[in-house]
């Protein structure tokens, strides 16, 4: 909660310092002084910053996010329209990152310095180096234009989700694969793994029961961090694929200097991030019996 109040404070303060003014943008350069003053009063912009902050937080507590300046719709409604699309996209990307990244990392760690490992490591370097807005465009050219398999953009069906989700997931796949590889390699050097092997436990069982379980903690931490990066990346992916989510809404709000909408969008992102961190913390308790629940 203090984090959210802090975010609101910072966002409002920073938007307050914006050189561009929503009012002049709405009325045009040649608006009369009177018209500007009336609109400012109507939007509540004539009040001092502290008053507006308290008012905004007060309204926030009642679930009122204000009305967007451009569309003059309740911000809550605009956000409600957009967030399921972003959630769908980021969850899909996170699942891809977790599945492909962990699998690749484990195979790399079990056969280090094999051909697979070498290819996987080079591929993950590329994954980390490709700008995702460009990867998205390349995918569109290959899979939509040349092969004609998948739609160019928009949302609606599962086929629309494939390209954006893979595009968004790629850097995270690379990060997760690298991290998993080093975490599993570390665990495989531990004494208890040697003990398990010595007492005749089969290799798949050693991996599943001893290695993976212990390697999961850094991996889950990373996945939590990655979901934050995915939300950031969603801004780009949504722009490339015309995906009707929060990221696109936020970019539009920035261009329109629609500070009410921008505040709301940033708030939703911050809230999502707090929830994800909470889930990651809770999962430690499930994965590692040493982490007490009272912590």
């Amino acid at each position: 909660m203090p984090v959210l109040l802090g975010v609101v404070f910072i966002v409002m303060l920073t938007i307050d310092l914006l050189p561009g003014d929503a009012v002049t943008l709405m009325l045009g350069e040649h608006a009369t002084k009177d018209a500007v003053a009336t609109l400012r009063a109507h939007l509540g912009l004539d009040k001092p910053f502290a008053v507006r902050y308290v008012e905004y937080v007060g309204r926030l507590a009642r679930g009122d996010l204000g009305r967007s300046i451009q569309q003059n719709r309740p911000v809550a409604a605009e956000l409600a329209d957009a967030w399921p699309a972003t959630l769908e996209l980021t969850v899909a990307a996170l699942l891809i990152a977790a599945a492909v990244g962990v699998a690749t990392g484990v195979v790399s760690a079990v056969w280090p310095n094999s051909v697979f490992d070498a290819i996987a490591r080079i591929a993950s370097l590329f994954g980390l180096s490709m700008p995702i807005f460009w990867t998205g465009l390349v995918f569109i050219v290959i899979f939509s234009l040349w092969l004609n398999w998948l739609p160019v953009g928009g949302a609606g069906s599962l086929t629309h989700l494939v390209l954006p989700a893979i595009t968004l997931a790629l850097p995270s796949v690379a990060m997760v694969a690298r991290m998993t590889r080093s975490a599993v390699l570390d665990v495989l050097r531990e004494d208890y793994v040697r003990t398990a092997r010595a007492k005749g436990v089969g290799e798949p069982w050693v991996l599943a029961k001893h290695a993976l379980r212990n390697a999961f903690i850094p991996i889950v931490t990373l996945l939590g961090l990655q979901s934050g990066q995915l939300m950031g990346g969603a801004v780009l992916t949504e722009t490339v694929f015309a995906w009707p989510g929060l990221g696109r809404l936020m970019v539009k709000a920035i261009f329109a200097r629609d500070y009410v909408l921008l505040q709301g969008a940033v708030l939703v992102f911050a809230l999502a991030f707090v929830v994800i961190n909470l889930l990651v913390d809770l999962s430690y308790g499930l994965l590692d019996p040493r982490v007490g629940r009272q912590g």
Partner: protein
């Protein structure tokens, strides 16, 4: 084995270094290397396919893509280097203050750093650009501020660790003033770690600048910026895919090169990390 020798044995890292040097040379010599004026329009040749006259084709306005990619390396490197300097200078100041002074200042600074680090990178930079407005200079500042917290945390950690070492305790016991302790005994030991971070930061700074410019919030037209070129190429993606995809290759190559050099430096400067990390 010295750090340089270790670096030299890492073939990928050397390859990355070669690309970085080539990139720097291209940026410095762009006016002499570029086959065409990057701003000269030729509307009858717009969207020309790669060929003899325009090696990598021409864009929507008939401008030579190869020349623009060459000039774009100036923007990418300039924004990268300047933002890196901002991040390192700011992070060094904040991290040293937090680690050396300690107490409530440390607590406040580190809480702020944690909050900033928790924020997804693009959203933070977006927020800063939203405040400052678009433009090359503001993009540089935004990328620099984005990099500050991580540097501050690295520096603080090293300062805290070094403050407890015996040679610093000895220097302190001999009565050396705080400035001398910092300048002679603590900061020089932070430099290797910072160089590694700065190199890897360059890769991310180039990506971030490209992303912001792609969204229209970074470098503004008609300046040749790679991200911006991808963005304008996007409008003609289905008729002339090369306009958007070629500049993206340049971004990837530059980022890959800095990542390779950074990874190589890390392994060379800190041999203990070898094998387990990366």
């Amino acid at each position: 084995m010295s750090a340089w020798a270790r670096f030299g044995r890492n073939r990928l890292a050397v390859l990355g270094l070669v690309v970085v040097v080539a990139l720097a040379l291209t940026a410095a010599l762009a006016p002499w290397l570029a086959p065409h004026d990057p701003a000269r329009q030729s509307l009858i040749e717009k969207r020309a396919r790669p060929g003899a006259k325009y090696l990598l084709g021409a864009d929507e306005f008939g401008r030579d893509i190869l020349s623009r990619v060459m000039y774009g390396s100036r923007v990418a490197l300039l924004v990268g280097v300047l933002s890196m300097l901002i991040a390192v200078a700011g992070g060094l100041l904040l991290g040293t203050l937090a680690g050396f002074v300690g107490g409530w200042l440390d607590a406040v600074l580190m809480r702020a750093v944690e909050m900033l680090l928790a924020f997804p990178y693009l959203l933070l930079a977006l927020a800063i650009v939203a405040i400052l407005g678009p433009g090359a200079l503001n993009t540089t500042v935004a990328v620099g501020i984005w990099g500050m917290p991580a540097v501050a945390r690295i520096v603080r950690g090293s300062v805290l660790a070094l403050r407890e070492t015996e040679y610093v305790a000895a220097a302190r016991a001999l009565g050396s003033p705080a400035a001398a302790l910092l300048g002679r005994h603590i900061l020089p030991n932070i430099v290797p770690g910072l160089i590694v971070y700065a190199t890897l930061f360059m890769a991310n700074a180039i990506l971030l600048e490209a992303a912001l410019s792609f969204l229209g919030l970074g470098v503004q037209p008609p300046t040749a910026s790679w991200g911006l070129m991808v963005s304008t190429g996007r409008d003609v993606l289905l008729v002339a895919p090369h306009v958007a995809t070629v500049p993206g290759l340049a971004i990837m190559l530059a980022v890959l090169a800095f990542n390779l050099v950074g990874d190589g430096l890390r392994d060379a400067l800190d041999p203990r990390l070898r094998g387990s990390a990366s």
